[in-house]
């Protein structure tokens, strides 16, 4: 018998002289921080009957439009109109719910895969896609819609969301920040540092991890050995929530609750949404190298649009008018995308030197002069 066998011996408790109460643990009760063992599901359960029909219809319209958006953007890559597109096909419930859970004066911090959330938030689709078209890094004014630039270096947007939320709280505003990231992103140091800052600062911020099972080719089992990614919340002292990411109603409910808690001074929440990326990582990726067709097919059955349709049908809400209206809006969005991406953008090469600094340095002015001269010479050669 080792001394460890006495671990749970009640006689041993509290008998240590001089043990300082301030040093005892836990400082907070971990139980409420732990996620439920099963992800929250609403659609297809009795709980869905309680859902507001207007919300269901709104989610439906937006999911249908979102699916169409993903299809159209993917088509644009095939036509060479977009350089690259990381589709959120299959993840539309997360994208739409993220946008709907926020107020206009809240801030969204999207990753490269979240253009749909950005568009759902009100950013023009053309502007949302300039990064991926290749004509500008960020095509929209982040302040106008309180939507941060699409973030590519993984998890680096997490501390940004925390800092903004903290600043808002200091200013006395009840603004909330919502950061989106993927399962792979949770492995980065910036995720850890950001969540820890959020909890220590008690900042009004929500983290939504869209766990789509893969970071490019790397499956979740090679990414983390945690019971769930939501369990990471405990280590920061914030609640962790687990939700079926293809259940639009469930994601919306969990995010709405977390945003509300943040808004009313309850601090940050980590939400893990279980979902699946139906397409390859981007159009440049070959997903057959690392996953089986059967797996994709199984997830196609658990489709966010279909799940919502079924629920609407069950409630007798899927009438012809709604279906037609949703389809029409989706087609309008796609048509606008086709029209806007039909022509090549007019770009000013001199814009290279704009916005490096508030005032260009002398050497940048010199370099700009050099480029201008080159362009003039070229124009002369081409007889323009």
């Amino acid at each position: 018998m080792t001394v460890l066998d006495h671990r749970n011996d009640p006689a041993a408790a509290g008998t240590v002289p001089g043990w300082r109460p301030g040093a005892t643990a836990p400082r907070t009760d971990p139980a409420p921080l732990l996620p439920d063992p099963e992800p929250l599901r609403v659609l297809g359960t009795p709980a869905a009957d309680a859902a507001d029909p207007a919300l269901l219809r709104e989610l439906y319209r937006r999911l249908v439009a979102g699916r169409r958006y993903n299809q159209q953007a993917t088509t644009l890559t095939k036509q060479g109109r977009l350089a690259v597109y990381p589709a959120s096909t299959g993840q539309e419930a997360c994208q739409v719910a993220a946008a709907l859970a926020l107020r206009p004066d809240d801030w969204l911090f999207p990753s490269y895969r979240d253009t749909l959330a950005v568009v759902a938030r009100g950013v023009d689709p053309l502007q949302a896609l300039t990064l991926l078209r290749g004509d500008a890094h960020t095509g929209y004014d982040p302040r106008a819609t309180r939507t941060a630039p699409l973030c590519t270096p993984l998890a680096t947007q997490v501390p940004h969301a925390v800092g903004l939320a903290h600043a808002a709280r200091l200013a006395g505003d009840d603004t909330v920040a919502l950061a989106l990231l993927g399962d792979g992103g949770t492995s980065e140091g910036d995720f850890h540092e950001g969540l820890n800052f959020a909890a220590v600062l008690h900042a009004p911020v929500v983290f939504l991890v869209q766990n789509n099972g893969y970071a490019i080719s790397v499956p979740l089992t090679r990414q983390s050995a945690a019971p769930t990614l939501a369990h990471k919340a405990v280590g920061y002292g914030m609640p962790g929530r687990l939700v079926d990411g293809n259940d639009a109603l469930a994601v919306h409910a969990v995010l709405t609750e977390a945003v509300e808690r943040a808004r009313t001074g309850g601090g940050p929440t980590l939400v893990e949404a279980l979902t699946y990326r139906i397409e390859a990582h981007t159009n440049a990726d070959d997903a057959t190298r690392y996953r089986q067709a059967e797996e994709v097919e199984a997830w196609r059955v658990h489709d966010p649009v279909r799940l919502l349709e079924d629920a609407l049908r069950g409630r007798g809400l899927l009438d012809e008018e709604l279906v037609a209206d949703a389809a029409e809006r989706a087609e309008q969005l796609a048509a606008r995308m086709r029209a806007e991406f039909h022509t090549d953008p007019e770009l000013d090469p001199m814009s290279l030197f704009a916005h490096v600094y508030a005032e260009p340095t002398q050497q940048l002015r010199e370099q700009a002069g050099q480029l201008a001269a080159e362009l003039a010479a070229e124009a002369e050669v081409h007889g323009r």
Binding site: P149, P153, T156, H160, V162, G163, E193, Y357, A358, Q363
Partner: protein
């Protein structure tokens, strides 16, 4: 650019550490959006006491002790700046800024550019840098070359007590991100200065000592060494000018070229490793711009291309008066 006003008037005497502390205090008084954050900047006042008393005067929200995570600190500052604040970040030592380099290179330096001017980040990143204080490994790196090579950052470094105040005020007031490099070994040097003298924007080099033979081009921790060398050079018959760059970015090419053209001989001095150091840029640029005025190649006196040595050996590594004079001697005087 935020307002730069000092409530302090008249000449005073103090250390560079005190001048930096006053600059922070005055900046925070003048502008409520200025927030300080970093490790131990609160009750302790920072390990170098540069933030001493700020939490007492402005409260823990304005001068915030953060958790121990440099990328987290700088990333949080990015978010704060996006919401309209003007964060001043303290990195505890130069080598401990490395965990934050991704945030610095990929976001801080680029955010204005990647948002077409919509999201400027007026962040000042204060980094105590360089050696000569007997610091153990990782406490004496001089990493200015990494920052100077990164478009979008300003890189500022004071060498005098007055500049410590003035350049820090100007950096905090700048609407661009500034890496503000504080020469550790000059923290405790005293001098007289007038906080109310007015603050120039960053980007102007200054001739600390006129001369007729050659010019020593330097910045930050190496300025006092260069002034000492110039003094010692008199015995050898050289009258050396000393130019203090004050900022590597913007680089005051006009002022530097003027001196180099007029004297025809120059030595660049800094303590960080020579290979690919800031001195390479300075020498290459001055050579290109002043080629036909040069009587000798622009020489460099720098730290060796080795990891920073342990305290008991650092004096062999750091450029000293003799090494500078050796270089001056090689400026081909015979012709």
């Amino acid at each position: 650019m935020s307002t730069v006003v000092s409530e302090q008037h008249g000449l005073r005497t103090g250390t560079m550490a005190q001048a930096l502390n006053l600059a922070l205090r005055d900046a925070m008084r003048a502008d409520k959006t200025v927030h300080v954050l970093g490790e131990d900047v609160g009750a302790l006042g920072g390990v170098f006491r540069i933030t001493d008393g700020l939490t007492a005067e402005f409260g823990p929200d304005r001068c915030l002790d953060t958790p121990l995570a440099e990328a987290g600190i700088l990333g949080t500052a990015v978010g704060m700046a996006m919401y309209g604040l003007r964060p001043v970040v303290e990195m505890q030592f130069d080598a401990f800024a490395y965990p934050a380099l991704e945030q610095l290179f990929s976001h801080v330096a680029k955010m204005r550019n990647r948002t077409a001017g919509k999201l400027p980040l007026p962040i000042t990143v204060r980094i105590p840098y360089g050696g000569g204080i007997g610091g153990v490994e990782h406490h004496s790196d001089a990493s200015e070359a990494y920052y100077a090579h990164t478009p979008g950052l300003h890189v500022v470094t004071p060498a005098t007590v007055a500049d410590a105040y003035g350049l820090l005020r100007a950096s905090i007031a700048s609407d661009d991100p500034v890496v503000f490099l504080e020469p550790k070994r000059l923290y405790w040097g005293k001098d007289g200065w007038d906080p109310a003298a007015g603050v120039e924007p960053v980007g102007k080099a200054v001739l600390r000592r006129p001369g007729t033979s050659a010019v020593l081009v330097t910045y930050g921790p190496s300025l006092p060494v260069c002034l000492e060398a110039a003094e010692a050079a008199k015995a050898e018959g050289w009258d050396l000018a000393v130019l203090d760059l004050r900022s590597l970015v913007p680089f005051d090419e006009a002022t530097a070229c003027e001196v180099v053209r007029s004297l025809g001989r120059a030595v660049v001095v800094h303590e960080s490793a020579g290979f690919g150091g800031a001195g390479a840029e300075i020498a290459a640029r001055l050579t290109e711009k002043c080629f036909h005025h040069l009587a000798a190649p622009v020489l460099r006196v720098t730290g060796f291309d080795v990891p920073y040595p342990p305290p008991m050996l650092e004096h062999h590594h750091l450029p000293g008066v003799d090494r500078i004079l050796d270089a001056v001697a090689r400026l081909q005087w015979e012709e």
